[in-house]
């Protein structure tokens, strides 16, 4: 403590700070000596306590949150919507998983989405094990679509690391509407979007190196395996092109001018074992020039592999599509700053962040400067820097996995320090619990970064919550970044396993309250009904076509339009249910007992399910989504005749 600090403090100020402890004693009904003296201090002195801080995150009953948070569900395969700052979970969106509540993965609508973009090789494999689609996924990165560097509220794109897929969620209805599996790539990890002029491309990092094509050859020649960088058109969800790279691909990010995408690589060695992957002291980032790639495609410099135009962007390529810039071993996070100028590469094994200037890549591609010359800063931030987010005021917040801290630092000052100026760019460090991975701030990935909140997605909770057995929740912590100092305000337990979250102001979205009944989402049922001459949502009808039976019914609280229908054992039955209620929050369901079927039908939606009626007898169906005072009575029976009985 400096002399001036000492002199500047009165005894009264100091006493006030003792209040938190004293309050505990006081609350226990004690009035012992000095403790009682402390209790008499002014209340304002408590403002800095944990309890008081926590109140910043409280949203009282009946009040709405200010932000939507889109949380990845990791290997649960789903997306969750949270409200911020309360961190209350608002909704789940099943994507790569199967869902017992909604029938995702068994309805015709969801199966259509989950199968239409599967690769032929996978379809064949799945059929051989009696599946139509995969039952699992590993969803790491939820990325909302952009127009001119800002969230435009159209879509959310998500990756599947487990089965090499990309999915799209419509933000007007918060449902997945497209899913594709990427050919030639193996395991999609890093995922970011074109920011300018709009999304545009969805950039998918194929993390693992594998043979291309990957169909049983080159198994013993790992040196000939490769990672692939894919650009998917976000509107058509078709692969626009792919680029083969050297090393692997970890995380990526795009600039704010629509010119470049950069990606980190943690295995430039192209090794197989941990030892081989870390044998070098350096890995690299690879930068892709969109203009050069689009020109090479136009000039026909590609090879078509599995129906996709594939370019060679390896270190040895002469096409000029990529540049490789060495950085310290095992870089991880790749984050474009909202200033539009800078790219932050997080060191992971190196306790540093490296700052690149996007514009300098022009000269690197032109051969005027070396790749390293595009570095404008290199700041030691602490141990295990993984990801960085931003407040839009020039500060960056980097997660430190090993230190289990978040460090706040100033980008401009880090750049000045790199030029040799004596300036300490590190502003503050706070502990998080425990071992943070991703960090993301409100609008931190857009030019609208507003510096209100950041979420620290911690990989371990250990002792932070009631012990729920050997498996513990993760801990997503909310940090107030609006002031000079970061303040930890909330612990949020989450189930397996949020990797990343993106946060959007509520004003950016205006989701529908009820579906439009002719939404293309219901195309399967609409086409079927048209063919059968049935008016969806009006007719309640059974249509038999040989051994195929279509059952159309409405759902209006508290009754299904059909309370009974009869089929024969062995028939292929399709049940199509339309919720004709247009009341907000009045969802119905259709659960068929002993058939393993349960589907969701939101207001004005139509959903369908197809099954073989091999289980004879009387089978009740009922509405599982509470709808009415007579909800229990909302049921009917499917009668399955067994000809042999």
């Amino acid at each position: 403590m400096s002399k001036s600090e000492k002199e500047g403090v009165s005894r009264r100020d100091v006493l006030g700070t003792g209040l938190t402890a004293a309050t505990v004693a006081g609350a226990s009904g004690l009035a012992v000596g000095g403790a009682a003296v402390l209790v008499a201090q002014p209340k304002a002195a408590m403002a800095d306590s944990d309890e008081e801080n926590h109140k910043k995150a409280l949203v009282p009953p009946g009040k709405l949150d200010e932000y939507y948070g889109f949380w990845s569900g990791g290997h649960s395969g789903e997306v969750r919507i949270l409200g911020l700052p309360s961190m209350r979970e608002l909704m789940r969106i099943p994507v790569f998983n199967r869902c017992s509540a909604t029938g995702w993965g068994s309805t015709n609508e969801s199966l259509g989405i989950m199968t239409e973009g599967l690769l032929p090789q996978s379809k064949e494999f799945l059929a051989s094990i009696g599946q139509k689609t995969y039952f699992n996924g590993d969803l790491h990165h939820p990325r909302p679509s952009y127009t001119d560097g800002a969230y435009d509220g159209r879509y959310l794109f998500v990756n599947d690391k487990a089965n090499t897929r990309l999915a799209r969620i419509r933000l007007d209805v918060m449902k997945c509407d497209k899913m594709i599996q990427l050919p030639n790539a193996h395991s999609i990890h890093g995922l970011r979007l074109q920011r300018y002029p709009k999304t545009g491309y969805v950039f998918c990092n194929g993390e693992n190196r594998a043979p291309i094509p990957n169909a049983g050859k080159l198994l013993d020649e790992p040196k000939k395996w490769n990672s692939v960088f894919s650009a998917v058109d976000g509107d058509s969800m078709q692969v626009a092109w792919q680029v083969i790279v050297s090393g692997n691909l970890d995380n990526n990010d795009a600039d704010y001018k629509g010119k470049y995408v950069a990606s980190t690589c943690y295995n430039a060695e192209e090794g197989i074992t941990v030892a081989e992957m870390t044998s070098s002291d350096k890995d690299h980032i690879v930068v892709f020039s969109l203009a050069a790639i689009e020109k090479a495609i136009k000039d026909g410099k590609y090879e078509e592999i599995n129906g996709v135009k594939v370019l060679d962007g390896r270190k040895t390529s002469k096409l000029g599509l990529t540049i490789y810039i060495p950085v310290a071993n095992s870089p991880h996070g790749c984050n474009a700053a909202p200033d539009g100028k800078h790219l932050i590469i997080n060191g992971k094994l190196s306790p540093t962040v490296t700052i690149f200037e996007w514009d300098k890549f022009d000269d690197v591609f032109a051969g005027k400067i070396k790749g390293e010359d595009s570095i404008v800063g290199n700041l030691e931030v602490g141990l295990g820097p993984l990801h960085t987010t931003f407040d839009g005021k020039g500060n960056a917040y980097t997660s430190l996995f090993l230190d289990s801290q978040v460090v706040k630092w100033n980008i401009g000052e880090a750049i000045r320090a790199y030029k040799g100026e004596k300036v300490n760019a590190i502003k503050q460090k706070i502990d998080v619990h425990y071992q943070i991975g991703h960090i993301n701030a409100t609008h931190g990935e857009t030019k609208d970064a507003d510096g209100k909140w950041a979420v620290a997605l911690c990989k371990f909770s250990k002792d932070r919550f009631l012990n729920a057995g050997p498996m513990k929740p993760e801990n997503d912590q909310l940090i107030d970044i609006s002031g000079d100092k970061m303040i930890l305000v909330h612990d949020g337990p989450t189930y397996a396993e949020p990797h990343d979250a993106t946060i959007m102001h509520a004003s950016k979205l205006n989701p529908l309250e009820v579906w439009k009944k002719d939404d293309p989402y219901f195309k399967f049922a609409m086409d079927l009904a048209k063919k059968d001459g049935v008016k969806l949502g009006v007719d309640n009808k059974v249509v038999r076509d040989g051994t195929k039976v279509r059952v159309y019914m409405t759902a209006a609280a508290p009754a299904f339009g059909l309370t009974q229908f009869k089929v024969k054992k062995g028939d292929e039955v399709t049940v199509v249910v339309t919720n004709v209620d247009d009341v907000v929050d009045l969802a119905h369901g259709f659960t068929l007992v002993d058939y393993g079927i349960a589907i969701e039908i939101a207001p004005q939606a139509t959903a369908s399910v197809t099954f073989t009626a091999n289980n004879p007898g009387v089978h009740y169906y009922y509405c599982q989504w509470f709808c009415h005072a007579l909800h229990m009575e909302m049921s009917g029976q499917m009668l399955v005749e067994d000809a042999g009985v």
Binding site: V14, G18, A25, H433
Partner: protein, 444 residues
Amino acid sequence: MQNWQRALKGLIASCVLAVCPAARAADIHVEPGPSSLIQAVAQAHGGDRLELGEGTYAGPVVIDKPLTIDGVGGTVIDNGGGGTVVKILASGVTIRGVTIRGSGTKGEDFDSGIYVEQGSDGAVIDNNTLEGNLFGIVLHGCKNAIARNNKIANRSDLWPNDRGNGFHVWNNTGALIEGNSVTSGRDGLYIEISHGNVIRSNRFEGLRFAVHYMYANDNEVSDNISIHNRVGFALMYSNNIKVLRNVSIGDLQHGLMLHTAHKSVTAFNYIYGTGEKCLFIYTSASNDIHDNRFEQCGTGVHFTGGSENNKFYGNSFLSNEMQVKYTGMKFYEWSLNGRGNYWSDNPAFDLDGDGFADTAFRPNTLVDWVLWKYPLAKLLVSSPAVQSLRYVQQQLPSLYPGGAIDSFPLMSPGPLPVALPANADLTPAARDPAQSGSDSRPIM
């Protein structure tokens, strides 16, 4: 042995008799001259000893047979700033008494003073001076190397990320790294994926990490000295390490860090004057931590939740600003078999004169917490208010936020576990202002 047939015969004979080929080897004196060393290496045979006379030899030198290179004094191998100076591609190579300088600066190529390639086992690197290189000695996937009494001063005119480590030890077993000093560059010794090695009696000064340790089991790290580095001994993601009698003086962030380090013994270390933390124990379980001295640091021990089954006894906590910072919700007993630790701030009595305080000591009480959150409250530490709070808390254990309890606190500090080096600057490191807001106390 001038032709390959004789060489082959010799080799067979030596194998049959199981004697070292060096017994038949030649002693060759080499004088400085244009590529004289490179030619001498090319002409030598396995087992030969090259004695390098005083003067400067041009590198790079690639040693692809079991040779001994002996400098007579004043022997310099200089690369003039490109590539690796001495590259060892064979087992059984010895390099002794040579000054090696002038490697290139390409980190991706491991430009270094001495680089020992995978499969080149049993290298002996002894009494050399390595200066002005990017990396000093790189042991890259080899076995049973000995690096002893070398002095390493790497280039530090580059940005820290672009500098090289004094020792870069990757994928090694059986290495003995002893008696060396590293005084500039990036990390003193970086060791990764290397099990069963000994790192002993080395001195690291003015670096980023003295010892940067990642995923390396069954090693010994003993009698090393870290002076004024950013981090002293960072031992991470490893099991069964013996961390004994090391000294850290004035390191900036961590004197000694056990991060996801399990089943290890950390004893008789002396951590003095670290800016932030003498010892950081992070998710490290089943360790035996005893008879260490933690003195004059910002925090004596920062101990986090999830670090289970650690034995903690016989340690001396002297004059740390905060003795223990604990971020977790459980209680831990910090004594073993009736022997606790010494706490310089324990206002205890020992009326029965058995050497142990009469009451248990809780190093992180609410008072400590208040002091931690509000450093200015230190002025009141002996005030009746604070003493009352301590008293109240003693009567009502439920008021404790969790933490360490020492049931058998010692009344006097243990003897110095190891002497501080005489020729060292003993100034404690400055505190890092960025850490002042790192309050992580659970909500009560």
